[in-house]
């Protein structure tokens, strides 16, 4: 799914990475516990979260998250935004709650772990 489609489905606002809205996302994960996210995230993954601190951006960099969507209209502070700009990670804000966002994207075909790369990784190991 292209990020522009995600933006349309969630009526999201792009607050960082306007030049990256055409990137392809292949899976998604949702949650507010970063260690949990580190266990099941895969490449080209979209993160939906209510956390807005800079650690979200660091976590995104560690596991190569494609983009981050802040739910329930939450907006990151200047520090988080600056770090995302440096790391060139797209940030989106939607007014919808986490559960609803997850349902909409899942129904539209964006699942947790369907990426081609993940399947290839599994074959390698």
């Amino acid at each position: 799914m292209v990020l522009t489609e995600v933006i349309r489905l969630l009526s999201a606002e792009v607050i960082c990475g306007h030049d990256k809205i055409n990137l392809q996302v292949e899976s998604a994960c949702a949650g507010d516990l970063l260690s949990d996210l580190l266990t099941f995230s895969h490449n080209k993954t979209l993160l939906l979260t209510g956390l807005t601190n800079p650690q979200v951006i660091r976590t995104a960099e560690i596991i190569d998250l494609a983009a981050i969507i802040f739910v329930r209209g939450k907006r990151p502070n200047g520090e988080t935004l600056q770090l995302a700009q440096e790391k060139q990670i797209p940030l989106l804000v939607t007014q919808l709650p986490l559960y609803e966002c997850s349902g909409i994207l899942y129904s539209a075909g964006l699942r947790e772990d369907t990426s081609k790369e993940t399947r290839e990784e599994a074959k390698e190991s």
Partner: protein, 155 residues
């Protein structure tokens, strides 16, 4: 190795990295692990291995920042494996068995509000590691050794 790295040149390749990690300094939390990750990307390690190293190092680095006074994150990178040592001066772990249980955490509330303290740190490290060793002394500190083998190299 992937990405066209010359195996002949790899034979003598050994990179050692060392980072001081300050307890309570959340501003730079993750920087050491990200630099280790970039080093591995630069020398062409497989992406799946880099992910495991990055997650293990990041959890170990965060553990020092969350729980300890100070510490060091060290890494030795060879074509065969990545070894990470995380050594801290801090409270130590009273019950390692409990600390290894998924969901068990002693992190205070303000840490949980940041998204950490889910009780997944040590279990995550163990899951990513081929070898995981931990030595802890209450009131002194904790030492962790993680080895992740580059299986694509040896196969």
């Amino acid at each position: 190795m992937k990405n066209g790295t010359n195996p002949e040149a790899d034979r003598d390749q050994k990179i050692c990295l060392s980072f001081n990690v300050e307890g309570g300094n959340f501003l730079s939390a993750g920087e050491a692990s990200i630099r280790l990750k970039h080093t591995l990307q630069h020398i062409g390690y497989p992406a799946s291995l880099i992910r495991r190293v990055a997650v293990a190092a990041y959890e170990a680095e965060m553990n020092i920042i969350i729980h300890a006074d100070s510490g060091v994150l060290k890494a030795e990178v060879t074509p065969e494996a990545v070894t990470i040592w995380a050594e801290d001066k801090g409270p130590g772990i009273e019950d390692i068995g409990l600390a290894m249980q998924e969901g068990y955490s002693t992190a205070p509330n303000y840490i949980r509000e940041m998204g950490f303290g889910a009780g997944m740190g040590l279990p995550n490290i163990k899951r990513c590691a081929d070898i995981f060793e931990i030595e802890t002394h209450v009131g002194i500190g904790t030492k962790i050794r993680i080895v992740i083998f580059n299986k694509q190299k040896t196969n």
